[in-house]
């Protein structure tokens, strides 16, 4: 069993489109798939832009973990087969089996702890592949999974070269080695410069720093600029997603690369970046009347070219080529 998250760099970067494409490809391969979401999927029109949204399409035999309050909006025929005890704003997450194909709204566990419980429940029902859809640019709950597929595109930035640069930066963070700390100073969170300075005061007695929780770019700058790192020092973060959340990926990578000149960098728990999906679409606030959005699109070929040339994992536009390469 594999559990993969589909993380977006922003809202409308193609997470649900990628999910639907992977489900189709997985069905072709005869995989028993299960899905859930760390947010909410299933509205016909976007809450914020009013533009049409892709809906989650399920086929017979699939397992779905979703909040009980979403089921009345399903056009798919489903039977409820289990509960998870995980709560959302739309009620408890329950497990259903699809009896007839159709659409289904998804609202799953909002936290990493919830994702762990739900993935375990879906695995017990025999799923080979569990896909966890993301929401907005949220990724933190995916830290508990084996790997993620990153969805990015015009909704994140309309600057193609910038998109490629930050995706490369994110891929670099996901590629950091796994390190096992031996006698590290452990700090919970480094969210501000002052918290980083306090951590470094403790480090004077030890060569290894382990950050158990969140970090921020300003805190990383303090670490990178510290002159007290000893030979053989190491800085170990919880997982690559903590780093991806630290701020603008390019500047975070810059701070980390600066730090890597003085201390070995690594993560305690790896999360593999499996692939990147790209979506040229963006909601264009400037094209219509005030307060109204219109669909806008980047040049799909230029986007693909820039990303495929530089990003060190498979880059796929699922709307053009489907998701067979992602399943491989």
């Amino acid at each position: 069993m594999r559990a993969i998250g589909i993380a977006g760099t922003a809202k409308n970067t193609g997470k649900t489109t990628s999910l639907n494409a992977i489900l189709l490809a997985a069905a072709d391969r005869g995989l028993r798939t299960a899905i859930t979401s760390i947010g909410y999927d299933g509205e016909e029109f976007d809450h914020l832009t009013g533009l049409p949204k892709p809906r989650v399409t399920v086929t017979e035999g699939m397992l779905v973990a979703t909040a009980v309050g979403t089921l009345r909006g399903a056009t798919a025929g489903v039977e409820r087969v289990g509960r998870t005890g995980v709560l959302t704003t739309l009620g408890e997450v329950v497990v259903v089996r699809v009896l007839q194909p159709g659409l289904i709204p998804l609202a799953g566990p909002p936290t990493g702890a919830g994702v762990t419980v739900v993935v375990q429940a879906l695995a017990e029902f025999g799923a080979d592949l569990i896909l966890v859809d993301g929401a907005f640019g949220r990724m933190a709950p995916f830290a508990v999974l084996d790997g993620v597929i990153l969805a990015t595109g015009g909704a994140r930035s309309r600057d193609i070269s910038r998109l490629a640069e930050e995706t490369v930066a994110l891929a670099w963070m996901f590629s950091l080695p796994t390190l096992r700390p031996e006698s590290a100073v452990v700090v919970e969170n480094l969210l501000s410069e002052s918290s980083a300075q306090r951590a470094l005061q403790q480090l004077e007695r030890c060569a290894q720093l382990r950050v158990a929780g969140a970090v921020s770019r300003p805190a990383l700058d303090v670490l990178a600029n510290w002159k007290g790192w000893e030979t053989g020092a190491a800085c170990i973060f919880s997982d690559p997603i903590q780093l991806a959340l630290a701020g603008d990926p390019v500047s975070v990578r810059g701070a980390l690369q600066c730090l890597s000149k003085q201390a070995e960098l690594g993560v305690l728990k790896p999360v593999q970046l499996k692939a990147v999906t790209i979506n040229p679409f963006y909601p264009d606030a400037g094209a219509g009347a005030k307060g109204q959005f219109r669909p806008g699109f980047l040049d799909a070929e230029a986007l693909y070219g820039a990303m495929a040339r530089t990003v060190p994992v498979p880059v796929v536009n699922v709307q053009i080529e489907g998701a067979a390469r992602l399943i491989q």
Binding site: K11, G39, L48, A67, G137, R138, L191, G213, S216
Partner: protein, 608 residues
């Protein structure tokens, strides 16, 4: 258990709601930390850790980029390990549960969220318990606490005399309607006990005319009427359950005891009626008033079954009324109108049988402006009031003849006579002056300066006469509405606010398209006036609306006029006075009706 709560307004301006919640939480014994607005997510998370809180509440009016920013806060809270022990809630104008779920919050609170709801979230009480924001709503008794004692001895003396005469006059009189009501009651009792009521039904049919007679002769229904199918009724039940699942709406008066707000329905179709009733309940109406078709007032006898009518007014049958009664939420008051036609006693009896809470009985309006023969309606009204007393149904006594041009003092004199008869029979009448711009006001210029004085004067006059409940209607603002929905909602709301300011027990309000619809009333126009009334009651609260000194003068004139009318009526007798114009004459616009003329019978012919 005391909770520690961090409140973080992300929006630098729109943080009033969060401050109200802050106050509510403190009053509920919780400890709070209110952050300055517009802090970055990292600082809010650090503060939550530093303050060791159990819950973080954010407020923000969401736009596209702000939603991303807010979702990022949730991510950082997760990354920082906060989610294991801290609940996250967000509130704001654009927030919906789906959007809250998408952003990863544990609770999401949109427009209309109450402080109590937010406190329940913090305290971890189940969500369904906090959605019933009107759960404390009850069904009040409008007549509770009134003694019906007279403050005007002369008027009491005149009414006593007049009603003594009337009671003697009516004692041995009956009508086909009185007999049908008794038969219908026997039919219901017989069938409830599993008996066969065929013979009773045949007797009933012989007392009917028109469409009702045809129904009991050959089972036919009028072309504009059809039976609602079982499937339609099942769907209607499902609809009601679905409509009721969120529990009672909030209170239109924000906790003030009065005035109760009533609104009427009567689209003709039972299904549409119930849909309207559900809408009215959702928008906080206290009560609903059943309106029947105008032809029902001219036809002797009622049809049977669950019926839909292609035209205004919903047919009164035991089954229709029962279905509506069953559809009501437990706090909604149900009034069945019975005040003008040829089926008054049976209407009140049926209202009592189906568990209605109020009815509407009148003699003068129906006789002088409603088309029913005065003698007939006097007899029917008397028996209707006996049923009202038997079933414990308070009833209002309307003065709608004022709309035809009858001056207020004459209409009030008639209302007081009917109410006095009702009291003699052990009933609980409610006085219903019109809050309107009737012919008298126009002709005499009583509303040239303002619309407050004359309406307030009516209440002042009645209060100076008797300690009885007052329920202006019906609807308030009659003759001030236009086809302009904004104007119409506004004038209704102002009249309702005046009702509240002068302390009346209830008001009846119209929809904004009621006076000019020329067809079915649309649901949106019902919401117009309920929202407008809610806002007006909120705006004035317990503040007063001060009439000018002219109101006292007008009230005194009304009282003096009532004394004169009653004095004259004592000379003529009540029912002869109706024919002779004592309570309104053709010059006023009042004409004794003809429907049912010559049908009153004496005791030896009575069934009851």
């Amino acid at each position: 258990m005391t909770k520690r709560v961090l409140l973080a307004p992300i929006d630098p301006v729109h943080d009033v709601g969060l401050k109200m919640i802050n106050r509510g939480l403190k009053e509920a014994g919780h400890e709070t930390v209110l952050l300055p607005p517009d802090l970055p997510p990292e600082e809010i998370v650090e503060a939550a850790i530093r303050e060791n809180v159990d819950c973080v509440l954010l407020s923000r009016t969401l736009g596209y980029d702000v939603a991303e920013h807010t979702a990022r806060f949730v991510d950082i809270a997760e990354a920082a390990g906060l989610r294991q022990k801290v609940k996250l809630g967000i509130g704001g104008m654009a927030i919906r549960p789906e959007l809250g779920a998408e952003m990863g919050f544990d609770g999401a609170f949109g427009p209309g969220t109450t402080v109590a709801q937010a406190i329940a979230f913090v305290e971890g009480r189940p969500f369904h318990e906090i959605t019933g924001i009107g759960a404390e709503r009850t069904r009040p008794d409008i007549t509770e606490g009134f003694t019906y004692s007279y403050r005007h001895p002369e008027i009491e003396r005149l009414l006593d005399k007049l009603v003594d005469q009337f009671m003697e006059w009516v004692a041995d009189r009956s009508s086909p309607a009185v007999q049908r009501a008794a038969l219908r009651k026997q039919i219901l009792e017989t069938e409830r006990n599993g008996g066969n009521a065929t013979e009773l039904r045949q007797q009933y049919g012989k007392l009917c005319t028109g469409a009702a007679a045809a129904y009991y002769t050959n089972g036919s229904l009028p072309d504009v009427v059809r039976t609602i199918s079982d499937r339609e009724l099942d769907l209607l039940d499902e609809y009601c359950k679905s409509a009721d699942k969120n529990g009672p709406s909030k209170d239109i008066r924000r906790g003030a005891k009065k005035p109760l707000v009533f609104t009427q329905y009567g689209t003709g179709c039972l299904v549409t009626d119930i849909a309207h009733v559900k809408l009215l309940e959702a928008w906080a109406a206290d009560g609903v008033v059943h309106f029947d078709p105008s032809w029902g007032a001219r036809t002797e006898g009622f049809l049977e079954g669950v019926l839909s009518h292609k035209g205004d007014g919903t047919i009164i049958t035991a089954e229709n009324l029962a279905k509506i009664s069953q559809s009501l939420q437990k706090h909604t008051l149900f009034q069945v109108r019975a005040h003008r036609g040829l089926n008054t006693p049976e209407t009140v009896m049926l209202a009592g049988e189906v568990g209605a809470h109020l009815t509407k009985i009148n003699i003068n309006y129906g006789s002088l402006a409603g088309g029913t023969d005065p003698e007939r309606l006097a007899v029917d009204g008397y028996h209707a009031m006996r049923y009202a007393a038997e079933y414990g149904l308070p009833f209002d006594v309307v003065t709608n003849e004022e709309l035809a041009g009858v001056p207020a003092h004459k209409a009030f004199a008639g209302m007081l006579v009917t109410a006095h008869i009702g009291r003699r029979l052990g009933g609980r009448p409610i006085l219903q002056p019109l809050f309107c711009k009737g012919a008298e006001a126009l002709i005499k210029g009583l509303m040239d300066d303002n619309h407050v004085d004359f309406n307030a004067a009516k209440v002042m006059a009645l209060r100076s006469i008797i300690d009885a409940p007052i329920w202006p209607g019906a609807p308030v603002g009659f003759m001030t509405h236009t086809e302009d929905r904004v104007q119409s909602a506004m004038t209704t709301a102002l009249h309702a606010a005046l009702g509240a300011a002068v302390g009346v027990e209830a008001v009846s309000i119209a929809s904004t398209d009621e006076a000019y619809s020329g067809g079915p009333i649309v649901s949106g126009s019902r919401v117009d006036t309920l929202r407008a009334v809610m806002e007006a009651l909120r705006f004035f609260g317990s503040a007063q609306i001060a009439p000018t000194p002219k109101a006292t003068e007008m009230a005194n004139n009304i009282v003096d006029g009532i004394v004169k009318v009653l004095t004259q009526a004592v000379e003529t007798g009540f029912v002869p006075g109706l024919y002779q114009g004592v309570f309104g004459d053709p010059e006023d616009g009042a004409y004794p009706g003809r429907a049912g003329k010559g049908t009153v019978t004496r005791r030896e012919q009575c069934v009851r």
